[in-house]
């Protein structure tokens, strides 16, 4: 059975690479946004294969769902095509990216072995959470127990970050209940300086 799962992993990795290269080459923004949704869905499928079911759920809902809707909405408000890349910029970007990739590949032999239960990443705090959760929290889903109880303060911070992002978007784009004015009026309105009231003001 393990052999079949490995082939599924290889197929998913191949599809992810194909989608990523297609996103690089495409200039039609609608296609790029749709392929980003496909990429998120493939990542969610690979997360399930990697036994990370909570993460897969969140990635599928957030990445393939909300993120695609937001990108589509923004694309419909801005542009439909991207300009082609000029050659100097293309080669400069490629050089930087190859250098960074080479540095990362140089670091790969020091990383933990794939799938090792005794690796440094899996041995200390992770195993403690696995062993202590039935005694201290008595909740079967260990990821929820860690997220909500052991690391509850981080989750509070995350909720505040989401709130702040919603606040930021509302401040920039409005509350969504404005009347539809004819276009051009909003962009052309100049900012008037504030005049002091006649007859009043500082003596």
């Amino acid at each position: 059975m393990t052999d079949l799962t490995q082939y599924l992993d290889y197929a998913l990795i191949g599809m992810l690479l194909a989608v990523a290269f297609a996103i690089v080459r495409l200039r039609n923004l609608f296609a790029v946004v749709m392929l980003m949704g496909v990429y998120s869905l493939l990542c969610a499928a690979w997360f399930v294969s990697l036994d990370a079911v909570d993460v897969a759920f969140t990635e599928a809902a957030v990445g393939a769902g909300i993120s695609t809707v937001l990108l589509l909405a923004a694309m419909l408000l801005t542009a439909r095509e991207a300009e082609p890349t000029k050659p100097p910029r293309h080669w400069a970007a490629l050089a930087v990216v190859v250098a960074a990739g080479a540095a990362l590949l140089y670091a790969v032999p020091d990383m933990p072995v794939y799938g090792d239960p005794q690796s440094a990443a899996n041995a200390y705090v992770g195993r403690d959470y696995l062993e202590q959760t039935p005694n201290e929290i008595a909740v079967p889903n260990i990821v929820t127990a860690v997220l909500a109880s052991y690391r509850g303060f981080d989750t509070l911070g995350e909720t505040m970050v989401i709130f702040t992002a919603g606040l930021g978007v509302m401040l920039m784009l409005g509350f969504g209940n404005r009347k539809r004015e004819p276009k051009g009026k909003q962009a052309a309105k100049p900012v008037k300086p504030v005049k002091p009231a006649k007859g009043e003001g500082a003596p």
């Binding site: 079911v53 909570d54 897969a56 759920f57 969140t58 809902a61 957030v62 769902g65 909300i66 809707v69 937001l70 909405a73 923004a74 419909l76 408000l77 439909r80 201290e136 929290i137 008595a138 909740v139 079967p140 889903n141 990821v143 929820t144 127990a145 997220l147 909500a148 109880s149 509850g152 303060f153 989750t155 509070l156 909720t159 505040m160 989401i162 709130f163 992002a165 919603g166 606040l167 978007v169 509302m170 920039m172 784009l173 409005g174 509350f175 969504g176 209940n177 404005r178 539809r180 004015e181 276009k183």
Partner: protein, 152 residues
């Protein structure tokens, strides 16, 4: 014949099921994959589907932007409020910790306080995430594009 008839009929059947599934994911986050974030996104997506098919005016009547604004703040308040409540509910002489759920209930053997605490904060996360996703969608959808679709 309305060209969107099939979409309207099917979505009227599906949207309650989507919201129900969102609540299922929320309350079963303790026992299986799920929790507040996933559930919030699912509920928001249900309302976004309604907005896409029936129009923004109908969606704004169903879930007004004021409800969304208050929901954003209410979720964070609930989460932080649970933390403050645990600060206040600790007994005299015990260490006082923010978000220490064991203080919420006296039954320490079965850790009922932990269950209550996790339930309440996941509820707070549900309110905030659903409201924020919906607020962002309303903000983007309420913006008028510079060029109408035919001029691109």
């Amino acid at each position: 014949m309305n060209p969107h008839l099939i979409l309207r009929v099917v979505s009227k059947l599906l949207i309650p099921i989507i919201v129900l599934f969102g609540f299922y994911v929320q309350f079963h986050g303790d026992f299986g994959p799920g929790g507040g974030f996933q559930a919030g996104v699912i509920v928001a997506v249900g309302v976004i589907l309604y907005a896409l098919i029936f129009g923004m005016e109908e969606a704004r009547r169903a879930v007004p932007p004021a409800v969304v604004r208050y929901g954003m703040a209410a979720g964070v308040l609930l989460f932080a409020g649970v933390g403050v409540a645990t600060l206040l509910m600790n007994g005299v002489g015990e260490p006082v910790n923010f978000l220490d759920y064991d203080a919420l209930h006296t039954d320490q053997g079965h850790h009922t306080g932990q269950h209550y605490g996790i339930l309440l904060i996941e509820l707070g996360v549900l309110f905030t995430v659903a409201s924020v996703m919906l607020a962002i969608f309303y903000a983007f959808a309420g913006r008028i594009p510079d060029l109408p679709d035919e001029d691109w």
